[in-house]
């Protein structure tokens, strides 16, 4: 069953906070749910499907449903890290197409910054079979992505200056976002001269750590067409995990190769049709890998694609992350998936900041990488169309 045209994104909301000292995790989920409902012009009782991932407290779907007083007939708590909300949009479209629900709410929220645990990863599950073979060696997010960047440089001659251009582009966009954590425009020199975190990744190659969250509402076409908001249609979807494959490690490509191919096939479009892209930017290298794996450029040519402002709105070939992305704006709960979809929706509605709004933005893409590129991750790709 193709999901092309089976559902629309009718509500999107990003929490304005970046440090939630006085807000609980569940309150953040509730705030963003309310914001998205208001954006859509729907009420709580319209929701009959709910989606969340591992950032939701307690029993996830059950806990949030209870707090918000939701009466549901479909729930899905598929957990795949930061890409989860992008995958949830596809699963919501699937549930709507199957008649399992009419209006689906998706939330993501958290407060790692206020909790003082921004860098503390959850203690690993002792039953996860790989932990005994990895934990003693100190895999952190930074050094795992560092290894991907180093291998890319080795294979393709990518440079730190080229990676820096990705942060530079994000900062050009963030200057227009009053909620962005980092609003100063930076230069390539600023990035490559910032302290080394885990070589070859510098501090400014890394995303922010922030509190907050976001929510989306996905509805069946008949309902979407009755609402007053611009119509944003789900046109293509794809999801795929990639793992260490029994030791056949290849760090030169990500699961976005698979999820992207599926999404483009379902949407019946090509990368050349995409006017705007929200690309997961946990690190600069994450963006470079997705550009290649989604087919915006050939494998190994990402560095040349991004340099000299290739990703800056109004300047480059492919405007990306016009809210400032995870690199400058927001990476709530250490998960960047929901904000990727929200900015794509803003662009398609023509509601992005005028300084970064892409003219005639009719087709946009959002891609997420949940987990770690160097070990195991799940990619989710979403292609949306303004109709």
């Amino acid at each position: 069953m193709s999901l092309n045209g089976q559902a629309y994104i009718v509500g999107a909301y990003e929490h304005p906070t970046r440090k939630a000292d006085d807000l609980s995790v569940v309150r953040l989920h509730a705030d963003v749910a309310k914001g998205a409902l208001e954006d859509a012009g729907l009420s709580k009782d319209d929701i009959d499907g709910y989606f969340c991932a591992g950032d939701a407290p307690g029993l996830g779907t059950t806990t949030i449903a209870e707090y918000l007083g939701l009466k549901l007939r479909h729930v899905d708590s598929t957990e795949c890290g930061g890409s989860a909300p992008i995958l949830h949009v596809a699963h919501a479209a699937e549930a709507i197409a199957a008649g399992r629900c009419n209006v689906a709410l998706i939330t993501l929220a958290g407060r790692p910054r206020a909790a003082g645990a921004a860098l503390a990863l959850k203690s690993p599950d002792p039953d996860a079979p790989e932990v005994q073979f990895e934990l003693p060696f100190g895999p952190a997010t930074q050094n795992l992505y560092g290894m991907v960047a180093k291998r890319h440089m080795y294979e393709f001659g990518t440079t730190s200056e080229q990676l820096a251009w990705i942060k530079v582009a994000a900062s050009h966009h963030a200057q227009h976002n009053p909620h962005a954590m980092l609003r100063n425009v930076v230069t390539v020199e600023d990035v490559v001269n910032s302290p080394m975190v885990s070589d070859p990744l510098h501090r400014l190659d890394c995303c922010v750590m922030s509190d907050g969250g976001g929510a989306l509402i996905v509805a069946r076409p008949e309902i979407a067409k009755q609402l007053k908001r611009p119509l944003v249609k789900v046109r293509g979807t794809g999801e795929a995990p990639k793992h260490a494959a029994g030791g056949k490690i290849d760090l030169t490509w990500s699961a976005a190769k698979w999820s992207g191919a599926a999404a483009f096939a379902e949407a019946g479009v090509t990368p050349a049709d995409i006017k705007y892209a929200s690309l997961y930017d946990s690190f600069t290298i994450t963006v470079l890998m997705q550009l290649e794996d989604l087919g915006f450029c050939k494998k190994g040519e990402g560095g040349r694609f991004v340099q000299d402002g290739g990703l800056i709105s109004g300047v480059g070939k492919l405007p990306f992350n016009t809210d400032g992305g995870g690199l400058c704006n927001n990476h709530p709960a250490n998960r960047g998936g929901v904000t990727k979809v929200i900015e794509a929706v803003r662009q398609l509605r023509g509601e992005a900041h005028p300084a970064v709004q892409v003219p005639n933005c009719d087709i946009a893409l959002a891609n997420g990488i949940g987990g770690a590129l160097a070990s195991r991750h799940t990619a989710a790709t979403l292609i949306l169309e303004r109709v």
Binding site: G138, A149, A245, G246
Partner: protein, 148 residues
């Protein structure tokens, strides 16, 4: 670069990392039953991988069920402990500095490890390395690698 364009959390962590923190603690492996022979061999200074008697593929991390064909007919094979650096990244400061790496063993599988007893600045992808077992904090020794 303006100081306002910093990420407070990363900055705090960077300050913490900049302080001498003493040697890095090597977390003891929390051993699952199917991997016990691997860790007992490590105690004796031997690095084991798994090979499937049905499909012939070698795999790592080792498990009972072959990830290539799902056969339970897997057996332990001793690695010569030699390989090449696939990729690596160094983080942390002074004594706590360490280098995470993927090393491709001559037996064909790539494993997560640390590169030790070397100057990280002098390392290169493709360089030959050999195993060097290091004690973990109160547990089995773990297989790290050093330039050959």
């Amino acid at each position: 670069m303006s100081t306002t364009n910093q990420n407070p959390a990363v900055e705090k962590a960077a300050e913490k990392a900049a302080r001498p923190a003493g040697p890095r603690r090597i977390a003891p492996p929390r051993v699952l039953p199917e991997a016990l022979p691997f860790w007992e061999a490590a105690k004796a200074g031997r690095l084991l991988v798994k090979r499937c008697a049905d499909c012939g593929e070698t795999h790592y991390y080792p498990r009972d069920i072959c990830p290539h064909c799902l056969s339970a007919n897997t057996g332990w094979v001793e690695s010569k402990g030699q390989g090449t650096i696939y990729s690596y990244s160094t983080m942390g400061k002074e004594e706590a500095r360490y280098t995470l790496a993927y090393v491709t063993l001559d037996e064909g599988v790539t494993m997560l490890t640390n590169l030790v007893d070397c100057d990280p600045a002098a390392l290169a992808i493709g360089q030959r390395v050999q195993v060097a077992f290091k004690p973990s904090d109160g547990g089995y020794p773990v297989a790290m690698f050093t330039p050959a």
